[in-house]
């Protein structure tokens, strides 16, 4: 039977290297996935994931059990990922956003849902698009990548997003909406689905 996280954590706190290693092995891919979603570069995500476990080791005694261990670990990972993006951005002075705004604003809503069918979990198209997700994320601005990963991978609520990102709840909702719109526009492009010219989006807000 698999030893639970807290039992491994307790042993690691007592100095048991093998228990700490077991936690690393258990979460390495998930932490890497979170980091990759935010920093978008595989090698940088690898470094961030390693730093996450080093930070975990430094703060083993700080975990109070107020959330799941994994939640606490992913919080470290996202914090380090966002820091890494800030450092990269300030050094490169760029924040790539290659989403075609026309695809976003021409009222293509509903096309993806129709193409993915009534049972999107089983769709072949869905599998293809899942394979394009990291590429699509890489085309979004850092702020949109971060909020999508925090919401959809880490599962944070609006309140938690507001706290984590240091922005009002209204900004969280607006930013999330625009991030989704851009992501869906990219997915339509990958799927070869042209936007419908007959419909117009009336919902574009000020936050992007």
């Amino acid at each position: 039977m698999e030893v639970d996280d807290l039992a491994l954590l307790e042993k690691a706190r007592a100095g048991d290297a093998e228990s700490f290693r077991a936690l690393v092995v258990r979460y390495q891919r998930k932490v890497f996935a979170v980091a990759l979603g935010i920093v978008k570069d595989q090698d940088l995500a690898w470094d961030v994931a390693q730093d996450t476990f080093l930070r975990l080791h430094q703060h083993l005694h700080d975990f109070k059990g107020e959330s799941a261990f994994s939640t606490w670990l992913f919080r470290i990972a996202t914090h380090l990922s966002i820091d890494a993006v800030r450092r990269e951005r300030s050094s490169k002075k760029e924040d790539l956003d290659t989403v075609d705004e026309a695809l976003v604003s021409e009222g293509a809503d509903g096309i993806l849902a129709t193409a993915l069918g009534s049972n999107p979990q089983e769709s072949v198209l869905r599998k293809e698009l899942v394979g394009k997700m990291t590429e699509a994320l890489g085309k979004l601005p850092a702020a949109h990548r971060a909020i999508l990963v925090l919401r959809e991978v880490e599962g944070l609520s609006y309140e938690e997003l507001s706290e984590r990102l240091g922005v009002p709840k209204g900004t969280v909702m607006s930013r999330l909406f625009h991030a989704r719109k851009k992501m869906q526009a990219l997915l339509r492009g990958y799927a070869g689905l042209a936007p419908s010219p007959g419909r117009t989006a009336e919902s574009e807000g000020s936050e992007s």
Partner: protein
């Protein structure tokens, strides 16, 4: 529908994230706005794809050495030694506290070898040349054995050889 700009931002909310009043207004809007229903359908149809896509990307990466690299970056002093190595450590600590015993333990094999050497030397196994006087005396006083029909008769010589 001019209110779409307001309601579209509420579409991604999970149960309990909106105030009851907001939820009611959103439900009413969705009832009459086809565009927002289409947006909601897109959100739902793509739900979970991001997490799956990232998990797939992570699965493609080779993590064989990841944990080793992490462990190598943590100082060894951070860890308690495993039990079998801990026993050796305890022995070293004991000997450190009892230095006479430690020296004796270290010299024990050499002392044992020396004792064995001396024992063998004194037991007569050593070469003849080392104790020639003993052999001469032995020859002078050696008994003569006569083998008779009644059995062996042993004649002991006197000190002068007769």
């Amino acid at each position: 529908m001019k209110d779409c700009g307001v309601f579209a931002h509420l579409l991604g909310a999970r149960a309990g994230e909106l105030e009851p009043e907001e939820e009611a207004r959103l439900a009413a809007h969705l009832g009459e706005c086809e565009a927002c229903r289409a947006r909601l359908a897109d959100d739902r149809s793509t739900e979970g794809m991001l997490a799956e896509g990232l998990a797939e990307a992570a699965a493609r990466r080779d993590f064989t050495h990841f944990a080793d690299e992490v462990m190598a970056r943590i100082p060894a002093r951070a860890w308690k030694e495993p039990e079998h190595r801990g026993g050796l450590r305890a022995l070293k600590a004991f000997l450190g506290r009892h230095k006479v015993l430690a020296v004796a333990s270290a010299l024990a094999p050499a002392l044992a070898a020396a004792a064995l050497y001396l024992f063998i030397g004194r037991s007569g196994v050593a070469p003849e040349a080392e104790e020639p006087g003993v052999e001469v005396v032995s020859e002078t006083l050696s008994p003569t054995v006569l083998d008779t029909s009644d059995g062996p008769i042993i004649l002991v010589n006197d000190a002068d050889g007769t």
